[in-house]
Amino acid sequence: MAVIFELAVQGAQMLLVLLLAPLLIGFVRKVKARLVRRQGPSLIQPYRDLIRLMRKEVVLADNASWLFRVTPYLIFAATWVAAALVPTFAAGLQFSWTADLIVIVALLGSARFFQALAGMDVGTSFGGIGASREVMIASLAEPAMLLIVFSLALVAGATQLSTVAAFMSSSEVGLRVSLGMSLIALVMVAIAENARIPVDNPATHLELTMVHEAMILEYSGRHLAMIELATFLKLLLYVSLISCVFLPWGLASVGAGPEALAFGAAAYLGKLAVLAVLLAVFETAVAKMRVFRVPDFLGAALMLALLGTLLLFVSRSL
């Protein structure tokens, strides 16, 4: 019986991230629109877009291979699994023993690998440009992400997210310099990974400046819907990750009752909203950087994460 309840909670978590991801994007877009004094599309516009895309015909380039057709589903599956592993409202879910930070990084890494391959598959110049830029960004973002994982693991004594979250909400954490550095580095990586301003512009129509959008220019119909949904999920994943690791308050603990779960869900929604507003404000306040400044930006993230890890070797209390 307990197992069924646990499975139900895990299932609810998987459905929750899937259903919530478009809303989060819709909310960010709405806040950004309001910040520049526009009305903005409605909050549920991303759902409508996805439904519209699902209904549309798929237009394939003549020279598209099977890889091009399979990749959207691969990306979606990998991202969904990764997003479902991050504790949102409750720790210690049924699958939490697999919810390892390194697994999440690896899942996202493979999704990106296939996306870059598919970008080059049809042989258009934009796909190639996008793929090369994406890989350049990834080659710096992934090591930074792994170093963040290492600092967290050194502090919490595990790479498993439930354990990390439980440790972070306990009183023994205290104020640590290395964690502050990790947080900043994680935010920088999250911005780069999600193709947000100042690294990439998710709303641009300028094909020459695109990174993420350039890789998916050739996609249409349900393929595009899958990729878009994966993009939404990825943003949700990173926001959840930041809130689960650095703002773990309200997270329902292992074996908690329905009330705690409900409170956890409400706290989670609140955190999402706050972080989404912060993201929108930040994106409105800065311009996009030159493509060749991105390595500097991510290099700073890498250095911060590295410093955080090194500090922990100097003293466990830093």
């Binding site: 300028l206 020459l208 996009k288 950087m289 493509v291």
Partner: protein, 507 residues
């Protein structure tokens, strides 16, 4: 040192060509003028063809303007472009339209004619059959690990069509080549034989965002040809419209440039201000873009108290809000990082190409048609022409910012001194029909730069030949130079800072 007026005096002066002289010159004098252009002493203001003749408008060192014309025996004339590159595309366009073959032109590819007109040399005395469709050979750029990126003519955004062929080494642009002509509408062909009123409407539709400047250039050319002086109130109203158009476009551009660096907040605020200008124009003149409000002989709609009020409150609002936006632009480090030192146009290049507008003025070319040669009522108004030397995207933004401030002051001055009286004079050519054709020309400063209008009115009062030269003719080639050595991803920013016209160029 040769002077343009000597050259013109040596040729056969054409009667009834106003306000600047035109002369039919010998091939030797033509070559002399080309030499002056090649040495950088004179500037090329325009070059256009007729079935059996080619014309060139020149600006000499004393800033005198004149037109020299050369008879083309057998449809051939010595090329200007082989010595003076700015003439290249103008000569290629004249070759496409009239079948005039410039001797020695290094680039004989077709320019406007993409082989889809169903006729070749449509404006020649005897148009030829359909041009054989041939693929366009882009200039080669060879080297290890170079790759080509074709962009357009259909773009991801809703913009005008133009094809850009980048040759890049990784992200760095080695060469950019433009291919234009996709929006050729045949305006010069439509103008031939059209009555003046209809031709004025055509002129106003050459480039939608410069409709006031085009109508003004055309109207002044007609008035020059016929010796008509519009009533003072009309002259001042026209200047008011021209400044409102400049305001709207500059505000829109400043926002759009920032938007290409993903700084949406400037775009939104500038968009609001631009919209306010358009609404004030609508309230004052009955059309948001003020199309067809300037006609030969005067203006088509008068300004009443309500209109004056809306423009005054517009000026007050922009004065209040614009400085904050300028401050935001100047203080946003991430934005400055994108615009400063991006897309440099060298001072020498701007001078060689005689680039007008913000492109020229951001690269040290101190030229404004409102001041040189100047036209009414600007001789009675106080304004500065901002000039910078840097030539980068940032400089082009700052020229626009300063020009917005100047235009606000000009609007103020015009509203304060607007004379009363009629707004339209009779434009009639019938009484001097016996004199034969009359020719007139004008330079008008649009927001992009100086627009040249040249026309010949037939004895029956219809347009015999009209040529309109957009400022973009001399700015598009500079864009190719500006992007060299920059990265591919900075092209949209450079392109937007130029904001050249496709429609006005393709005609």
């Amino acid at each position: 040192m040769p002077v343009l007026s000597d050259l013109i005096d040596a040729g056969r002066r054409i009667e009834h060509h106003a306000p600047w002289p035109r002369a039919l010159v010998s091939p030797k004098a033509w070559s002399l003028a080309v030499e002056q252009l090649a040495y950088g002493r004179w500037s090329l203001v325009g070059l256009w063809g007729e079935p059996d003749r080619v014309h060139m408008t020149l600006l000499d060192e004393a800033r005198d303007i004149g037109v020299i014309s050369l008879d083309c025996r057998g449809g051939r004339y010595p090329s200007v472009g082989q010595h003076h590159p700015p003439a290249l595309r103008l000569e290629r366009a004249a070759a496409d339209l009239f079948g005039l073959a410039p001797q020695g032109l290094p680039d004989t590819r077709r320019w406007l004619d993409h082989g889809r007109w169903g006729v070749s040399h449509p404006l020649a005395a005897r148009p030829g059959g359909p041009a054989a469709a041939s693929s366009y050979r882009f200039l080669p750029a060879e080297g290890e690990s170079l790759h080509q990126i074709p962009v357009g003519p259909v773009h991801a955004g809703i913009i005008e069509p133009g094809h850009f062929r980048f040759t890049a080494s990784g992200e760095t642009v080695v060469r950019l080549e433009e291919r234009l002509g996709y929006v050729h509408k045949g305006i010069e062909g439509l103008m031939a034989g059209a009555p003046v009123e209809q031709a004025a409407r055509l002129a106003g539709r050459t480039s939608g965002d410069s409709t006031v400047a085009y109508s003004l250039a055309f109207a002044r050319a007609v008035e020059a040809a016929l010796g008509v002086t519009p009533p003072p109130r009309a002259i001042w109203l026209r200047a008011l419209m021209a400044e409102l158009e400049r305001l709207a476009n500059h505000l829109g551009d400043i926002g759009a440039i920032c938007n290409d660096a993903a700084f949406a907040i400037m775009h939104a605020h500038c968009g609001v201000l631009r919209e306010r200008v358009l609404r004030a124009a609508d309230a004052a003149f009955g059309h948001r873009l003020m199309r067809d409000r300037i006609v030969p002989g005067g203006a088509a709609s008068d300004l009443n108290e309500t209109g004056t009020g809306s423009i005054r409150s517009l000026v007050a609002e922009i004065r209040q809000r614009f400085p904050h936006l300028v401050e935001l632009y100047d203080n946003t480090a991430s934005l400055q990082d994108r615009t400063v030192a991006t897309g440099r146009v060298k001072v020498e290049l701007a001078r060689q190409y005689a680039a007008g507008g913000y492109v020229g003025r951001a690269s040290g070319r101190d030229f404004d048609a409102r001041r040189t040669p100047g036209y009414a009522p600007y001789d009675q108004l106080a304004f500065d022409v901002p000039v910078l030397q840097e030539g980068d995207v940032n400089a082009r933004v700052w020229i626009r910012v300063r020009e917005v401030e100047q235009s606000l002051s000009l609007v103020d001055q015009i509203l304060g001194r607007l004379p009363a009286g009629p707004i339209r004079a009779e434009v009639a050519a019938a009484d001097n029909a016996a004199d034969g054709p009359r020719e007139g020309m004008a330079l008008a400063e649009g927001f992009r730069g100086d627009i040249l209008a040249w026309l010949r009115l037939g004895a029956d009062g219809t347009i015999e030949r009209c040529h309109l030269r957009d400022p973009s003719w001399f700015q598009w080639p500079l864009l190719e130079a500006a992007i060299e050595g920059n990265i591919v991803a900075d092209f949209p920013l450079c392109n937007k800072s130029f904001n050249c016209s496709y429609s006005g160029h393709d005609l």
